[in-house]
């Protein structure tokens, strides 16, 4: 099995380069992360992040054969060889496949990713009807792996100003929550040519999301709500 992996150690290398690897194994049911861990036995300087290894933590997001995805839930048999692995595009590389997600999380925090409710807290939890709870489906499952945001050209051009698909999906997650009381301020916060309206419905985000969520649809719903309150 052949691999081409992006290598860069800023302390040693003057420029990034692609390194060829070979692994003697059958793809079988194995996932890309299994292969990467075996490759690290060959070369222990190979840097990548991983944690849960089952598509829940979102640590091992990377660019696999030109497409962002999670190594742990990408089966080796589905990939064309040589398998080309690069770090997520559009973010600064710390080392090899490890990127600096600071900008991504800055945008995420800018949408206030928490429930704002000024009523006194009840004895138990704040309840929702099953129907209201249903509105959070397709939103709450986001694991913030960054696959969508780093596949978005609008984020590549304006990472400091455009919230990006992951942040906007999360923004809608709190707008859609019946327990949240901050809808107007949330919409105000997003009504901006850069923060929201850099989205030109390219839909790379929905295409790559490993959890099969649809940030474009969520962004559309935010725009619909803005129209509803404006007209």
């Amino acid at each position: 099995m052949k691999f081409k992996i992006y290598r860069y150690n800023p302390d040693v290398d003057s420029a990034p380069y692609m390194q060829d690897f070979e692994l003697n194994m059958e793809s079988g049911d194995a996932m890309l992360l299994d292969a990467l861990m075996m490759l690290r036995k060959q070369d222990d300087s190979l840097g990548f992040r991983k944690s849960c290894r089952e598509g829940v933590c979102g640590s091992d997001a990377m660019n696999i054969n030109g497409r962002n995805g999670l190594a742990c839930i990408t089966s080796l048999s589905s990939l064309k060889q040589p398998i080309e692995i690069r770090p997520l595009p559009g973010l600064p590389v710390i080392r090899d496949l490890i990127v600096d997600m600071t900008q991504f999380f800055k945008q995420y925090h800018s949408i206030k990713p928490y429930l704002v409710n000024n009523d006194p807290p009840p004895e138990t939890e704040r309840l929702q009807s099953p129907k209201d709870r249903l509105e959070l489906d397709g939103l709450y499952e986001c694991i913030l792996c960054g696959c969508c945001t780093t596949s978005c050209p609008s984020f590549w051009w304006n990472p400091d100003k455009f919230v990006g698909p992951a942040g906007l999906l999360q923004a809608y997650r709190f707008i859609a929550d019946t327990r949240d009381q901050d809808t107007a301020a949330r919409l105000d916060n997003l009504e901006d040519p850069y923060r929201l309206f850099r989205c030109h419905t390219i839909m790379n985000c929905a295409d790559v999301c490993p959890k099969e969520l649809n940030p474009t649809e969520a962004i559309g719903k935010i725009k619909d709500m803005m129209v509803k309150r404006a007209v």
Binding site: D192, P193, K223, M226
Partner: protein
Amino acid sequence: MVNRIVTGAHYGLRDWLVQRVTAVVMALYAVVVVVILLLQPSFGYDTWAGLFSGNLMRTFSMLFLLSLFYHAWIGVRDIVMDYIKPASIRLTIHVLVILALVLYVIWSVQILWGL
């Protein structure tokens, strides 16, 4: 002025909406013009001149052109916002684009009404 990343201009919704509405106007116009042209028994200068002699066609064409210019303004502005980073150059280009588009509007009126 300090160098900070600033957002929060609080506009964009109207432009986004206008871009959609103008796209519909342009699509409608394109279909109508193609259908009218296909319905003509012969095609020459006379047909073309006859088609644009009525005020209805002229007005609809003007509406199409206005939609086109507004649509183009939003599109061009978005491209400039993505690629031109210094605010002073961006503003200059914005002004030039607006002036050009206003000029096109005047020119369109002159052409359509033969002034």
